[in-house]
Symmetry: C2
Subunit: 354 residues, 2 copies
DNA sequence: TTGAAAGCGGTACCAG
DNA sequence: CTGGTACCGCTTTCAA
C-alpha cells in the first residue's frame, strides 16, 4: 500500500496525495476530499521511513537513559515526551542498563535513525563517543556527563552540594559513622558521585565512611545495605545514592529488626514520589526532574527560530528535604540496639530546607 | 555522509559497501578491509530509514503499554526488549497513559514504521483499531484485550480467578465490607476487572463492596483509598487493582493512623518487586511477567521457521501470595479503631498459595 | 568477486 | 491548483 495506489484510486498524482498528507493548503477542497476518501478506503498508512528519507529529517528525538526502571529517569523521560509531542515530535527511548556496550549501540542506533536531537541521561560516557556524536552534527544534551562542547549542551546537578547538605545534616544530628550505598556505576574510574561523598565526609574530621555498591534497584540497595551491616563498622546512618536503593536499604533494616530512624538513619536522593510513600518517608534531596526535562526539550527543539542548543553548562542546585527516615543518633552512639522501647512515630510532615 | 562517499573513498561500488555492511561473505577480504577502513575514517553511520525502505523490512518490533511508569508493564517490556535484542531486533515503545486517543496515534505510528511485530499491553481497544491492525498484516499480540483473530495472538491473565482468591481469603479472615481501589481505566464500558470484582463478591452473600477509582499511580491509589475511607462504609479490607495503587492506599492509611493489617487489610495485584519492599509487605497475586514477555516474543519473532503468531488465546493462571498486609478482621468487626495497643509485627515471611 | 542500475515510498521543485 | 520527475540512501538482482 503506497502513495501511488492512493493516487490512482483518487485519480490524482502522487504529488497531490503527498500535499494532502502534509495538509498543504493549496489543494482544492473537492480534490482533497477525493484523496481523503481513497486514503480511508485503502486504510493507507504512510511509510515513515520513506518520508524521513525523502525529507532528510525525522521529527523524532532520542532519549538514552541508564535505567528507565528508576522513576528518576522515567520522570525526565515523560516530561521530554510530553513536550516533544506538543511540538509535533516523536520520542524513541533506549535503556543502557549502565552497560557501556549498550550505550555505544544505542548511540549508533540513534545516529542511524537520524534523530533531530538526542538526550543522554547517563552517568558515564567515553570521550570517543562524545566525539562521534559531535561529528554527527546532531544536537545533543547531556545530563551529568562530559564537558561543554560545540553543538552539545550540558545539564548537571550539583550532586556534590546535595551530598554535603545530607552529610552536614547527619553530622549535626550526632552521626559519626556513615555507610554509603551506591550502585555499580559509581565504581567507574571517574565516579563523580563517589568522590563527592568522600569529599563531603573528608571536610569533617570526626566522620568516618564505608561504602558498598550493588545494582540500581530495590534489591541492589538491600544487598548493599546488607554488606554495610555485615561488618563491625556499625554505621548509625546510611546515605544512599538515590531513593530506589534507599527503599531497598529500608527493607534490609526492617528485616533485621533495626528501627529507622531510632537505631539507624537513612537518606535517599532524587525525591521520587516513592520516597514519600515508603515507610518511613525518606529524607532526601530534591532534583527538579520536570525542569530538567523542559530544559532538555528547549535545547533540542528550537521554538520558532530560537537558537536551541547552547554550547554551555546549566547547573541545577538541589534542595534538601527532611522527612522521617533521619533522626538523632541514639544516646550510646551505637548502631542497632535491640530491645529498646519504640519511640513515637514522628508526624509524617516534610519540610524543604534550601 | 552516505554509501556513495564511502564507496568512492574505498574505490569500490556502493553495492560492495552494502555487502560489507551486511557482512556478506562474498567480499574479498582485502576489499573488505579497504571498505572498513573508509567507513571508520569517515565515521559513517548507515541511514536506517533508507535501509528499511530498501529492504522492505525493519528489524524492529513495537510495544505499546498503558502505563510504563507502573513496573508491571515495564517488567514485561524489559523481557521483550532483551529477547528481541538476542534475536537482532530493536524495540520501540509507546506509552498511552490510558488515553484511547494516544493509543490510536501510537498504533498508527507503529504501522507507519512498518514494525515487524507489535505487542499491545493495554486494557482496552476499540474494535475498529483491531480491524485496522488486522488489515496492516503486522503480527500482533494483545495482552488482556480483544478476542482471537487472524494474525493476532491473545494472552490473558485469569484476573477473575485471581480476584476470587483474594476475596475468598479475606472472607475467610472474617472480612465482610470490602473497598475496591481501581484506576480510571476500569470505569470503561467493558471493564473486565471491575466486573470480576463484583462477580467475585456476589458469590458470597455476606459480602459488601464499595468502589473508588483514580489514576494508576501511588498518588491515585492514595486518593481512591481516601474516598473509600471518607464515607461511613468503614471497609475492613481494601482490595486494590494492582500493587502500585495498593502502596498508595497503604500511605493514606498510615497518614490516618489506621494500622495495617490490624485495623484494615490491604491487597495488591501483580506482585511487582515493590510489593515485597513496601511496608507492610503486600498480600498480592503474582502475574509471571517474564513469562508473558517471553511468550510475546515467541509469537512475534519466528525462531528458525517456526510458525510464530498463533491465532488463539493463551490464558495464564495467577498465584496468590500472602504477606503481611492482610490479617483477621478485628474483634468488633469495625474498621479503624484508634487507641488499641500495637500488635507485634508478624515475621515478614511470604508464602505462595496456588 | 565486483559493478551498474532498478527500485523502495515519499518529498519538493518546476512547469503548466 | 495539479502533474511530472529528480532525488533521498540503501538493497538487490543481473551481468560481467
Amino acid at each position: 500500500m503506497n502513495l501511488e495506489q492512493v493516487a490512482r484510486r483518487a485519480r490524482v498524482s502522487t504529488a497531490t496525495v503527498s500535499r494532502v498528507l502534509n495538509n498543504a493548503s493549496v489543494v482544492k477542497s473537492s480534490t482533497r476530499a477525493r484523496v481523503v476518501k481513497a486514503i480511508e478506503e485503502l486504510k493507507y498508512h504512510p511509510n515513515l521511513h520513506a518520508r524521513s528519507l525523502a525529507g532528510g529529517k525525522s521529527r523524532t528525538i532520542g532519549v538514552i537513559a541508564s535505567n528507565m526502571e528508576n522513576p528518576f529517569f522515567f520522570d525526565i523521560y515523560k516530561t521530554i515526551e510530553s513536550d516533544a509531542h506538543d511540538r509535533g515530535y516523536e520520542v524513541v527511548m533506549a535503556n543502557t542498563d549502565y552497560r557501556s556496550e549498550q550505550l555505544v549501540s544505542s548511540i549508533r542506533l540513534m545516529i542511524g535513525r537520524r534523530v533531530a536531537g538526542l538526550a543522554a541521561i547517563v552517568s558515564e560516557m567515553a570521550p570517543e563517543l562524545i566525539e562521534e556524536l559531535a561529528e554527527s552534527r546532531i544536537p545533543v544534551v547531556f545530563y551529568d556527563v562530559g564537558t561543554p562542547r560545540r553543538n552539545i549542551t550540558n545539564i548537571r546537578v550539583n550532586y556534590r552540594r546535595g551530598i554535603e547538605k545530607v552529610v552536614d545534616y547527619l553530622h549535626s544530628l550526632g552521626h559519626r559513622r556513615l555507610g554509603f550505598v551506591g550502585h555499580h556505576a559509581i565504581l567507574g574510574p571517574i565516579n563523580e558521585r563517589m568522590k563527592a561523598v568522600m569529599d563531603a565526609v573528608a571536610r569533617i574530621p570526626s566522620l568516618e565512611v564505608r561504602t558498598a555498591a550493588d545494582a540500581d534497584t530495590l534489591e541492589g540497595g538491600r544487598q548493599a545495605a546488607r554488606s554495610l551491616l555485615a561488618t563491625d563498622f556499625a554505621p548509625t546512618a546510611i546515605v544512599c545514592v538515590n531513593d530506589v536503593t534507599a527503599v531497598g536499604a529500608l527493607y534490609e533494616l526492617r528485616e533485621r529488626g533495626i528501627r529507622v530512624p531510632q537505631d539507624v538513619s537513612v537518606t535517599g536522593f532524587d525525591n521520587i514520589k516513592l520516597s514519600e510513600f515508603c515507610y518511613p518517608a525518606l529524607t532526601t534531596v530534591h532534583i527538579p526532574r520536570e525542569r530538567v526535562g523542559h530544559i532538555i526539550c528547549d535545547c533540542l527543539l528550537p521554538r520558532s527560530g530560537k537558537p536551541a542548543v547552547i554550547d554551555s553548562e546549566i547547573v541545577i542546585d538541589p534542595e534538601f528535604v527532611v522527612r522521617d527516615s533521619t533522626g538523632p543518633v541514639s544516646p550510646s552512639g551505637a548502631g542497632h540496639r535491640p530491645g529498646q522501647p519504640d519511640a513515637v512515630h514522628p508526624a509524617a510532615q516534610s519540610q524543604l530546607l534550601s
